[in-house]
Structures are given as structure tokens and as C-alpha cells.
């Protein structure tokens, strides 16, 4: 009984929208950390082995694309939750 009242109150307060915004924020933070880690590791690796810079850059492009795709999907899912 109490739980259902609490849930109704939460729904009325727009907590669903808050959750969607929070989800989007977490997704973007995750993507930011991911891309930052890729960048820093790649720079470190290039500094250590300049002769392997081509391979490192290539792998960096691929991983950055993956992170970007995942981040966009996460943001769009959160937007859909907000609008539908």
C-alpha cells in the first residue's frame, strides 16, 4: 500500500524524466572517460614507440568509433524514454 503510494508520488513528480536525464549524463560521462583513456594511452604508446605510431593511430580510430556509437545509442534511448 505504502509502496504504491510512494510510486504514484514519484511518477507525479516526474522522476521518470529525471531518470532519463541521469541515464544520458552517465552515458556521456562514460563515453568521455572512454575517449579520454584511448587518447591518453595512445599518446603514451606513441611516445614510447614512435615507430609504431601508424598502428596505434589506426586502432585508436576504431576504438573511438565504437565508443562514439555506443554513446549516441545511449543518449538516444534516454531521449526516447523522455519523449515517448
Amino acid at each position: 500500500m505504502l509502496l504504491s503510494i510512494l510510486l504514484q508520488a514519484a511518477a507525479g513528480a516526474g522522476l521518470g524524466k529525471f531518470g532519463a536525464a541521469l541515464g544520458a549524463a552517465i552515458a556521456v560521462i562514460g563515453a568521455g572517460i572512454g575517449i579520454g583513456k584511448i587518447g591518453s594511452s595512445a599518446m603514451e604508446a606513441i611516445a614510447r614507440q614512435p615507430e609504431a605510431s601508424g598502428d596505434i593511430r589506426m586502432n585508436m580510430i576504431i576504438v573511438a568509433a565504437l565508443v562514439e556509437g555506443v554513446a549516441l545509442i545511449a543518449i538516444i534511448v534516454c531521449l526516447l524514454t523522455l519523449f515517448l
Binding site: G54, M58, I61, I62, A65, E68, I76
Partner: protein, 139 residues
């Protein structure tokens, strides 16, 4: 010469990809879910095509500036595309509000297809540049 050839191949492949994707998705809407079709559908392929042209022009600019500038510029272009895409989806959701799910799904399909295409293309370019460098070192 290398730059001109790379540009030509990119534009040719991108045109084919845009046409095929638009035709396939348009057909799916026409045949299976005609009630979900939205009037802004043609704007999506146009947006990705224009962004592709922007990409390749930035790439040629980076190549002229120096090969080491290519990856940072590529990542900047990627970031810009990501932000502009999110902005477009948000604006559509707020301003148009018509068939949001269909618009977002179509946009996502285009985005991921172009992302794969661009990543494969620029990875191949890196590979070719690496081979070119090795050949130069041998000579």
C-alpha cells in the same frame, strides 16, 4: 595524386551508400510501415551526405598540412558530427514531435552505417599511408 584518388573513391562509395540506404529504408517504410513515414525523412540522407563531404574536405586539408594532423582532425570531425547529430535529434524531439521513434530509428541506422563506412575508409587510408612510408624508407 593520392589525395585526389582517395577523395574520388570516398565520394563515389559514399554516394552509393547513401542511395542504397535511402532506397532500402524508403522501401521498408513504403511497403511495411507506411503510417510511420515522416516528411523529414529525405533530410536525413542529405545531412549525412553533406557531413561526408565536409569530412573529406577536412581530410584533404589535413593531408596538405601534414600526415600527423590527420588523426586529430579526424577525431575533431567525429566529435563535431556527434554533437550536431545529438542536437538535431533533440531539436526534432522538441520542435517537430512527429513520429519521433521512426525518426530516431532511421537516424540511428544512418549514423551507424556512416560511422562504419568512415572508420573502415580512414583505417584503410592509414594502412596505405603506412605502406607508402615503408616503401619510402626502403628506397
Amino acid at each position: 595524386m593520392f589525395l585526389l584518388k582517395a577523395k574520388r573513391i570516398f565520394i563515389k562509395n559514399m554516394t552509393i551508400l547513401t542511395l542504397v540506404l535511402s532506397a532500402v529504408i524508403g522501401l521498408v517504410y513504403h511497403l511495411f510501415i507506411p503510417d510511420k513515414y515522416f516528411p523529414w525523412f529525405p533530410a536525413i540522407p542529405v545531412f549525412f551526405y553533406l557531413f561526408g563531404l565536409f569530412y573529406i574536405n577536412m581530410f584533404s586539408l589535413a593531408y596538405r598540412l601534414g600526415e600527423d594532423k590527420m588523426v586529430p582532425l579526424f577525431l575533431v570531425c567525429k566529435g563535431t558530427k556527434f554533437l550536431v547529430s545529438v542536437l538535431i535529434v533533440v531539436i526534432y524531439c522538441f520542435a517537430v514531435r512527429h513520429e519521433i521513434l521512426a525518426f530516431v530509428a532511421t537516424f540511428l541506422v544512418f549514423y551507424i552505417s556512416f560511422l562504419i563506412f568512415e572508420t573502415v575508409y580512414f583505417t584503410n587510408i592509414e594502412l596505405r599511408l603506412k605502406k607508402k612510408k615503408k616503401l619510402k624508407q626502403k628506397q
